[in-house]
Amino acid sequence: MGKKEKVRVQICVGTACFVQGGADLLLYNEFLDPAVLGGCEIEGVSCLGGCKEAEAKDRPPYVRIGEKVYGNVNQEMLCRLLAEATRA
């Protein structure tokens, strides 16, 4: 069985995201299941640009998982999204 590729996760650490909940997401080491954590490669990113889109329906903080950008992410949601992504 070939080694499973890790899921690439980018947490936005731009000002708007950081002050609206992004700071909580950076504590991922504390609230994520270690098994899920092992299957992801998590990094910070200066700005995903989501906050600047005029017609955005979501609000900061933004997180990119694989190719898809999610808005309004909180700790609970990140747990759920990453669990799904690593299972796939």
Binding site: V13, G14, T15, V19, I42, E43, C47
Partner: protein
């Protein structure tokens, strides 16, 4: 901005049990004439009485050295003015005046006047420098002893240091660890070793090192006030702070060119700004997840830039910490601490402020402290200039 910087600082420990010093240090800068005058005076006795004598002496010496008056006449005026000690029936305070002027030839002209303080030491790099001193006998009426002023004129090239101290330093350890105290040779040797071990040591650190050593020779209970001041002639350490994207996209290239051309340390503060710089310089931007706190987002790393931070939050925290003179030691290891460390290690700070408005910051639900970039830079510059005596400049793009 000047291409030459005179770094002056001093350190002092009072005589054991005293709450006020009998050694007084004064420093004034006259920016128009590129002149700095520093004075060190040691008053007779210790405590309040000595402090009064030394303050009077230092203040007079200081003021008179800015006037065109002849040196011996100034010294006479000082000695005639000093009040007489009730117990000893004499009026007495020592002084050393160092008048430093920047010359156009990348050198500093030093006019040094010494009266009864231990002689000043000069160093060129790690080498001790000797020079001839002209001795002037004052022959003042009513003098209780022979009064001889030492006068010397020197030019200090880049890399030279001048170390001036009170007799609390040369006599440290007397009768305890050393029979005759540390003495001039001991201080010279110690200073030389310090400079050799750390050729770029700042005036602050060197003065601290000398004073601490003297204090430990006195077994941490100083017999006299221990004061040391250091003058260091060097190139200014420059730092560039870039914050905010340029008003129009066409200026992005110009901004990056300015960063590339700058000689010194470089800070980019702002996520979008960092992305612009990263795109044009074609260097990847990597967020350093090891350094952040709940107050400020993490720093990033990028080749060619010394520090990359988030913008408004970090700058606002930096401005507050600078205004409150918060000690770096007590801060958590985050972007604010790193930013302030760079500021403290710089002499001149240049700001390039991008004037584009960030739409994401116009949201009423985000904290008030994300103010207007320009106000924030104003606060930063005022704090750097007023509290830390740094030179600053700024431009908009």
């Amino acid at each position: 901005m000047n291409d030459l910087f005179i770094d002056v600082d001093y350190a002092q420990i009072y005589k054991d049990g005293q709450k006020i010093g009998g050694d007084v240090f004064l420093l004034s800068r006259n920016p128009e004439k590129d002149q700095i005058v520093c004075t060190l005076s040691d008053g007779l006795g210790s405590g309040v009485k000595a402090n009064v004598l030394a303050s009077l002496t230092a203040r007079m010496a200081h003021k008179l050295s800015f006037s065109p008056m002849d040196l011996t006449r100034s010294a006479r005026i000082i000695m005639n003015t000093l009040p007489v000690c009730k117990e000893r029936k004499i009026s007495y305070a020592t002084f050393t005046i160092a008048d430093l002027r920047m010359l156009p030839s990348d050198q500093v002209a030093l006019n040094l006047v010494e009266y009864d303080n231990p002689p000043a030491l000069a160093f060129q790099g790690g080498r001790s420098v000797q020079w001839d001193i002209e001795h002037i006998d004052l022959q003042r009426d009513g003098a209780f002893k022979k009064e001889v002023l030492g006068h010397s004129m020197l030019t200090l090239p880049i890399g030279s240091r001048l170390v001036i101290f009170s007799d609390g330093v040369t006599q440290a350890g007397m009768g305890k660890s050393l029979p005759l105290g540390w003495r001039l040779d001991g201080v010279r040797e110690f200073t030389r070793n310090q400079i050799e071990a750390n050729p770029d040591i700042s005036s602050h650190d060197l003065a601290q090192a000398i004073v601490c050593r003297a204090h430990s020779l006195d077994r941490l209970s100083a017999k006299d006030d221990i004061t040391c001041m250091v003058v260091y002639v060097r190139r200014p350490r420059r730092t560039l702070v870039v914050t905010g994207p340029p008003f129009t996209k066409e200026h992005d290239e110009q901004l990056v060119q300015k960063i590339k051309d700058f000689e010194g340390r470089k800070i980019v503060s702002g996520g979008t700004t960092a992305q612009i710089v990263s795109r044009i310089m074609q260097k990847p931007l990597k967020v350093d997840m090891s350094c952040w706190s709940a107050q400020v987002p993490p720093c990033s790393m990028m080749e060619g830039i010394d520090l990359v931070t988030e913008g408004m939050l970090t700058l606002s925290k930096v401005a507050t910490a600078l205004e409150q003179k918060k000690p770096v030691r007590s801060m958590t290891n985050d972007a604010v601490k790193k930013f302030i460390q760079v500021m403290q290690e710089s002499d001149q700070v240049h700001f390039i402020v991008g004037t584009k408005i960030n739409e994401a910051h116009q949201d009423p639900s985000i904290p008030v402290e994300i103010g207007i970039r320009r106000n924030l830079i104003g606060r930063l510059r005022r704090a750097l200039e007023d509290v830390y005596l740094k030179e600053t400049s700024q431009e908009y793009i």
